[in-house]
């Protein structure tokens, strides 16, 4: 019986120590994310991915028939280059 009490006591200590430790550990991780990672995110934003995905989304959500100026300029640039190359080849 005494042995059982001892075991319960040990299990209780383990539970308390374990839960406190898990919370402390993951709380430090929260602080790490909120300070270090958040700062890094501001200092080194994703240069290529973010703007390109934004323009993509914009163009996708465009109403049919109305093309965004970015796309118009891209297409006209490509056509110009193609014509220039085509002309050279001739």
């Amino acid at each position: 019986m005494n042995n059982m009490q001892q075991q319960f006591l040990e299990a209780g200590t383990l539970m308390l120590a374990g839960m406190v430790f898990v919370f402390v550990f993951l709380s430090i991780l929260i602080i790490f994310i909120n300070t270090v990672l958040a700062k890094l995110a501001i200092k080194f934003p994703d240069p290529v991915v973010v703007p390109s995905s934004r323009t993509n989304k914009k163009s996708n959500s465009q109403v049919a028939g109305k093309v965004s100026p970015a796309i118009v300029s891209a297409i006209s640039g490509a056509v110009k280059r193609y014509r220039a190359q085509h002309g050279q080849a001739k």
Binding site: M4, Q7, E10, A11, L14, F25, L37, A41
Partner: protein, 377 residues
């Protein structure tokens, strides 16, 4: 005539013991769950087959010289297989949801209460005649509440190898039962209004954050809990391979071929522990029972913690995502999403629930490290 008799003695029929037959039926039961019910088939199928192989009389699969014997000692006794799987899981895990909403780490922490509360339960079962769990056994059983197969197998192989078969069966069966066990608990602990809460969109997470995150987690584990570094280290390696973007081949191998090969051997190795002597006793029943309790308490404490956070937080938090704090990735997150959709058809909680879900993986690895550090010596 003599040679005929010798031939008869070498047949399976002459050598079958009742226990072996029962364990083969158990193996077939696992195969049934895997094939017909689609319960964690990737693991339960090789495990069930391993259980059949290991109980074949005369063949000696699990004795020195037998295939399963070597698979077990090479991969599970050493802890290598669960760790390789953990690397693959790391390579499959996207931490964006967690980094975007770091508070959800607290939900992953709260759900680990299931583990530590079950420790009590396991010790209390010592009152039942025929059951005698030491603190090591109790810790290995309690980790079932972490709902993380590789972690449970890793810890059981270190603390209570003789209970490994029962613990692995319980862990994977309950993980498969997450969609049945969790929803009633989630509904009982939340109001309809709470289940309808819609959450704010997560902030975008940059690539550099995702690369530094596994390194930071590893550094913290090195500082505070070196006993968890085998699990956390392999997990972070897999995740770094994924997020760095420079070793796509390795990342793809870790999350496909390597994890698949290892799963076959892990299943067989665990199945080899399903021998009649080790499995057919009251303790197994106790372990199966405690596993269910551990899962339920973990779910409940995650939901309650989320309710508490919702009370004090400026941004609303749907308590349902707390249930995803028990790992079981991604099943638990899907369950949270499904229960949320039932209450509010426009409420998609999946991404929000992935935060506590992956936090739960970290939480149970940390809990395993604590148990190893305190009980494993």
């Amino acid at each position: 005539m003599d040679s005929l008799y010798t031939l008869w003695l070498s047949t399976g029929l002459a050598n079958f013991e009742l226990g072996q037959v029962i364990m083969m039926v158990v193996g077939c039961g696992l195969l049934y769950l895997a094939i017909a019910r689609n319960f964690e088939p990737l693991l339960l199928l090789p495990m069930g087959f391993g259980a059949i192989l290991t109980n074949i009389p005369v063949a000696g699969f699990s004795e020195a010289g037998g295939l399963l014997h070597y698979i077990y000692y090479a991969g599970i006794d050493t802890g290598i297989f669960p760790l390789i799987i953990f690397m693959g899981v790391g390579a499959m895990t996207d931490f964006s949801a967690l980094i975007g909403n770091p508070k959800t780490l607290l939900l992953g922490a709260a759900a680990q209460f299931g583990i530590f509360a079950t420790l009590f339960g396991a010790i209390a079962l010592n009152y039942v005649p025929g059951i005698e769990f030491t603190l090591k056994d109790a810790s290995a059983i309690a980790i079932i509440g972490g709902a993380d197969g590789p972690t449970a197998i890793f810890l059981a192989s270190k603390l209570a190898p003789e209970l490994l078969g029962a613990i692995a069966v319980a862990a994977y069966s309950y993980m498969a039962l997450v969609p049945i066990i969790q929803p009633p608990i989630m509904r009982a602990l939340t109001t309809d209004k709470e289940r309808k809460i819609e959450m704010a969109q997560l902030r975008p997470v940059t690539k550099i954050e995702k690369i530094i995150f596994p390194l930071g987690v590893l550094l913290m584990t090195i500082f505070f809990l070196p006993s968890a570094t085998p699990l956390v280290g392999m997990f972070c390696l897999g995740n770094l391979m994924r997020e760095s973007g420079v070793v796509d081949r390795l990342s793809s191998t870790a999350q496909n071929e390597l994890i698949n090969i290892t799963t076959i051997f892990l299943g067989l190795g665990v199945g080899s522990k399903l021998s009649s002597e080790a499995f057919l006793n009251v303790e197994t029943l106790g372990i199966l029972g405690l596993g269910a309790v551990a899962f339920s308490i973990g779910t409940a404490s995650g939901v309650l913690m989320a309710k508490l956070m919702n009370k004090f937080s400026k941004v609303p938090i749907n308590p349902l995502i707390g249930a995803a704090g028990v790992s079981a990735v991604p099943m638990a997150a899907r369950v949270a999403n499904k229960v949320g959709l039932e209450a509010n058809p426009h409420n998609f909680l999946l991404m929000h629930a992935m935060g506590p879900n992956v936090a739960g993986v970290l939480g149970s690895a940390v809990a395993a490290g604590i148990l190893l550090a305190l009980v494993g010596t």
